[in-house]
């Protein structure tokens, strides 16, 4: 199970993010000190060290910064190959790792993408992206 790989890390700091996904919301954070977005969730702003941090719902849109088509995978992902992993730059300015789904021929760096909430297990929703 994929959830088992990360369960021990889900704590007060990250739980709102994981819970949001189950409701179809992609939460990132916003720093009131320097007015920049933050991802992944933290207790302190990595730009200015302010603790004035709030949750912000992302537009869920952005572009592909890079991607790779994976042909050899491990553990619960072994049977998924070939699949596409991307790093997305959200319009709020933060980057996140994701799976890019849909026609592989359409996938290219700088292409616009939007989030697709994918229930990969009964208790785990992941923000995948597809080319728009």
């Amino acid at each position: 199970m994929i959830k088992d790989l990360i369960q021990s890390a889900i704590d007060e700091e990250s739980k709102p993010y994981w819970d949001g996904l189950k409701e179809g919301k992609l939460f990132i954070q916003y720093c009131g000190g320097c007015h920049q977005s933050i991802f992944y969730p933290r207790s302190i702003c990595p730009h200015c060290f302010s603790e004035e941090i709030s949750w912000q719902e992302s537009s869920g849109t952005g572009k592909i910064y890079s991607f790779t088509i994976v042909h050899q995978a491990f553990g619960p992902f072994k049977g998924d190959t070939p699949f596409v992993i991307g790093i997305i730059e959200l319009d709020e300015g933060v980057r996140m790792m994701t799976r890019i789904i849909g026609d592989k021929e359409e996938i290219a760096i700088d292409k616009r993408v939007s989030v697709v909430f994918s229930m990969v297990e009964s208790d785990l929703v992941l923000p995948y992206f597809e080319v728009v």
Binding site: I2, S8, F67, T68, H71, F74, I85, I87, M96
Partner: protein
């Protein structure tokens, strides 16, 4: 060269490498440490500082020093991945300069091939935002960087393959190398895809093996039989932990660590006779050469083309056959130091770079995360 001769590499050795069934990581390190001491003409009792890095114990220095019967007065377990050992060299030189100790032992050991250890960490912490997607690490992270570099600069798979082909040519000349059959560019391109754009032959080996390096003060170094290999420059840095958080997938912190090391040594790029550059993947080398300033961003592909880094080329690099063809037990950095020291001592027989006086050694750790650069000068 502006640096004073303060500390030197005085002994180097590998343990058994390749496949070492039945051996554990402590045996490999003990074997390498003993051989390195013999190489230096020193004994265990001369060691007063211990450096190691590994994830085989919660406090590797404690376990290793107890096993070897050493009670050090200085200890450093800096672990920044494969570049840890270049960092250890810098730290050892600084410690010697500060008068804290005279002789340091740096070791590494791994049974990554016959007995790979899984993570000892209970919680993935910030890796929780990457793990659920199934990126195979580290190769997938390096693939993301390669794809971005190709997009930005038009770098090709053929150019990356040049690095694997040239490195293999060096391995053919090294009896200790694991892979000694010549390959051509087509062989790399036709090897199976692991994570596009990287193929199997763009990736390093998975080996067992250990190594040891002895660092000594000038006073000690000058009374030993072999010529000291002076540590004349050092720099280190790290820019991220998870690949998603690498500020620019095409620029590593070699830009910082390399600059500082070269400045400390008072050396220009043209003065470097031999380069030992961490080659976990072909793209690692290409990005490193650019970030170190041997060529401009985007010119790495052209720089390595035409067998330039192969034996007989004008930029001798990874002269032991590298992590790609000689040995790569997970954290490869110590082997770069061993080879550079041997080159500067003129001990490399058929693969000897003629008249090698200055070597650049560059480690890369994690997922292009950490870098540490050492400049070494022959006596």
């Amino acid at each position: 060269m502006k640096s004073d001769k303060i500390a030197a590499i005085v002994g180097v050795a590998e343990s058994d490498i390749g496949k070492t069934p039945g051996k554990n990581v402590l045996q490999l390190q003990a074997q390498a440490a003993k051989l390195a001491l013999e190489d230096a003409g020193l004994t265990k009792n001369d060691i007063d500082a211990v450096f190691t890095a590994g994830n085989w114990a919660w406090a590797p220095n404690l376990m290793l020093a107890e096993y070897l019967g050493i009670q050090p007065k200085y200890t450093d377990s800096t672990n920044i991945g494969g570049s840890s050992f270049e960092a250890h060299v810098g730290h050892a030189a600084a410690g010697i300069e500060a008068g804290l100790f005279e002789v340091a032992l740096i070791t590494y050991g791994s049974t990554n091939r016959t007995n790979p250890s899984n993570s000892i960490f209970k919680s993935p912490l910030t890796a929780q935002y990457e793990i659920p997607y199934g990126l195979p690490t580290p190769v997938g992270a390096y693939a993301l960087a390669a794809m971005r570099h190709m997009h930005q600069y038009g770098t090709t798979s053929e150019q990356l393959a040049e690095i694997a082909v040239a490195t293999r040519k060096w391995a053919v000349l090294n009896e200790k190398a694991y892979m000694k059959e010549e390959i051509c560019i087509e062989d790399v391109l036709n090897s199976r895809k692991i994570a596009e754009p990287l193929h199997l032959l763009d990736c390093c080996l998975v080996s067992d093996g250990g190594g040891a390096v002895i660092i000594a003060s000038k006073n000690v170094a000058n009374r030993l039989n072999k010529k000291p290999v002076w540590i004349i420059g050092h720099g280190e840095s790290h820019s991220h932990n998870t690949i998603t958080n690498m500020p620019d997938l095409t620029i590593t912190s070699a830009k910082e660590s390399g600059k500082r090391a070269l400045e400390m040594a008072g050396i220009s790029h043209e003065e470097i006779d031999v380069a030992e550059i961490y080659d976990s993947f072909t793209i690692t080398v290409l990005l490193t050469l650019e970030s170190l300033g041997f060529c401009k961003p985007g010119e790495g592909g052209a720089f390595v083309s035409g067998g330039r880094t192969a034996p007989g080329g004008d930029f001798p690099m990874n002269t032991n056959g590298g992590g790609l063809s000689y040995c790569h037990p997970g954290m490869y950095g110590i082997f770069l130091l061993i080879e550079a020291a041997r080159q500067l001592r003129g001990e490399c027989s058929s693969r000897q770079v003629e008249n090698a006086k200055i070597a650049l050694v560059h480690g890369t750790g994690g997922v292009l995360s950490s870098t540490s650069t050492v400049i070494l000068g022959g006596d």
